[in-house]
Symmetry: C2
């Protein structure tokens, strides 16, 4: 076997072992769907590993990346989908339409792909105001235009009153994987540095603050943004020394890092002081008793980088408007595979688990 096929069979057996490990860790005990199953955290994984992964199993899906990577002729494509059920529909820093475009672009970008084409599958509740629909559609169009992607196909369904909640949007996306990209959770290796492109928790807290029941006086805006040009800048600079990208959406940084630790059979040691958290988010988390590391972001990425490329990567991120607050937040380790550890502000170390339960349903 040549070197490449040895590597590829090693990656495949790693994916297989990770699949077994996940199945061992996640077990669906529920008889009915709960809101926690939509949290992106542990219960979501229980549902995915209990129901979807075994039924749909194939070598592409089993990698459990943000996008599927598929090869057609001379093309490496990324393909992904996300549904958006965020409540409320409009919030500081964005709306459901903008989020639906950015979120799917970002899943493509995490595969190292240039996003090209999106679909829009829209479910409407009878009685929804056309004026709101127009605002949301215009916002989708603007976000797509800004990012240079085309919405090329769509579908609209309508259900009766009280059978939906205004509007749900699904976007699927197709992108072209950059030649310089070779990314995957299974490629993360001990010694890799973990970089974060900016502050955590802004999106989730902005959504919470937009809900009427809360009355906290602080200004937090969603970080909703399309990350593909940031990824391109990073790939242009460090190429294959970039091993993996994740966008910490539902379940936040804590959940995304636990997913990588499980898939890559490594542990991750984080330095809490290095993680940027805006003042408003920190304050809201204290009042609400939330951990900012479990809160959703919609314009941030985690990058796993060969140690020698750390400073170059950091410079590349910081030179981009969406990466100005980028920081090295941790290191990948060999011991205790599947675990994430947090060295806290006050000098202790604790295990950082995935989000359990769901403090913030319908965050995206």
């Amino acid at each position: 076997m040549d070197k490449q096929s040895t590597q590829s069979s090693e990656v495949l057996s790693k994916i297989e072992r990770a699949r077994q490990a996940r199945r061992h860790k996640f077990y669906l005990r529920d008889d009915h769907v709960t809101l926690s199953h939509g949290s992106g955290g542990k219960a979501t994984h229980n549902l995915i590993e209990g129901i979807f992964a075994p039924a749909f199993a194939n070598t592409i899906l089993d990698r459990m990346e943000d996008s599927a990577t598929i090869t057609l002729g001379d093309q490496r494509l990324a393909f992904t989908t996300d549904s958006y059920v965020v409540n409320p529909l409009f919030f500081a820093g964005g709306d459901i339409g903008r989020l639906a475009v950015h979120g799917t672009i970002n899943d493509l970008a995490m595969a190292g792909a240039d996003p090209l084409y999106l679909s829009a599958g829209i479910i409407l509740e009878e009685g929804f105001a056309i004026e709101h629909l127009q605002r949301i559609v215009d916002s989708m169009a603007r976000a797509a235009h800004e990012a240079g992607v085309l919405i090329v196909t769509g579908d609209t369904k309508v259900v009766q009153r009280a059978k939906a909640d205004g509007i749900f949007i699904n976007t699927a996306g197709v992108g072209s994987v950059r030649a310089s990209a070779n990314l995957g959770q299974a490629l993360v290796a001990p010694g890799d540095r973990v970089l974060l492109s900016g502050s955590v928790g802004d999106h989730g807290i902005a959504i919470m603050l937009a809900r009427e029941e809360l009355d906290i006086e602080t200004e937090v805006s969603s970080d909703s943004a399309a990350l593909h040009t940031l990824v391109a800048a990073l790939l242009d600079r460090i190429g294959t020394r970039l091993h993996c990208l994740k966008d910490p959406t539902r379940g936040g940084v804590a959940t995304a890092l636990n997913e990588v630790a499980l898939s890559a059979e490594v542990s991750i040691a984080l330095d809490e002081r290095a993680i940027p958290v805006h003042e408003g988010v920190r304050g809201a988390c204290e009042i609400l008793g939330l951990d900012a590391l479990t809160i959703a972001n919609e314009g941030k990425l985690l990058a796993f980088i060969a140690p020698e490329a750390e400073q170059e990567a950091l410079r590349a991120l910081r030179a981009h408007p969406l990466g100005r607050e980028a920081a090295v937040i941790g290191t990948v380790q060999a011991e205790f595979p599947g675990m994430v550890f947090l060295r806290t502000d006050i000098g202790g170390t604790r295990v950082l688990d995935m989000l359990v339960g769901d403090p913030l349903p319908r965050i995206c």
Copy 2:
């Protein structure tokens, strides 16, 4: 200009004129979303032409085909999306999972593509039974396996009780357009024959009968089926003499033909006696006062074929298990562009319009 680029610029200006014609014909007057906007008929077109088409306008979307056709490197790809909100979830001949796989495969097949990869975006209502979810997911997996497609990426969201209706499923799909395929509504020309692959109305009537409020004693099963092998058989036989394919889903044969007549700037003359309708469907339509031509199908196609290929195409369809009842049902004409005429059983002729209103909400 060489012949091919002349043809292609003719097709493009035809698409542009059709876009103007549609915009002229469809006008959104409503302030709020109604169930009719989800019918697939006239109100759906009002919504699409009033809101989505102007906001997202681009040369791929403007073609308004069942799938977008995109070119990447040496590959011609089809890309499509559909959300499924059918009620009830289980019915004679299928369930929402099977439908979600077949429907998206069929949209790809209508572009002359071999379906390859699907995504699954699932929205669940809190409290939905895991047992039902398992049945639906197993059914999706079986339908995908039977059709030889892989579900490679997915997403699950959960909303509170009474904010959805059990489960909604979005599937997007990517397929590879066959080398022999050159299909599009704009390619339909006067003289073309209209072929239908089998009986009409089975799916819609099966759904109606599965609704508890109706108590009609007749056996009708959904025709839900994956049509890509039928399309492949047709393309293998007649190649580019196949001009256009449409699957008459929401809004039925009447709506699909009106869409083609508008896009291709032609009229279509149908022979009602030639259109296969199963006894149970005919009976149910009489009792319910419905026109079988406006009822949804989920395993049928309409093919527009160069006149000299009519008999070959008919033989190719009839030789396939899903085309045994195929029939030539009409002819494309130059006069009265945008209109569909039906020569009725009793010898008269009437205009056959798109579905107006929605006799059957949430049929798919």
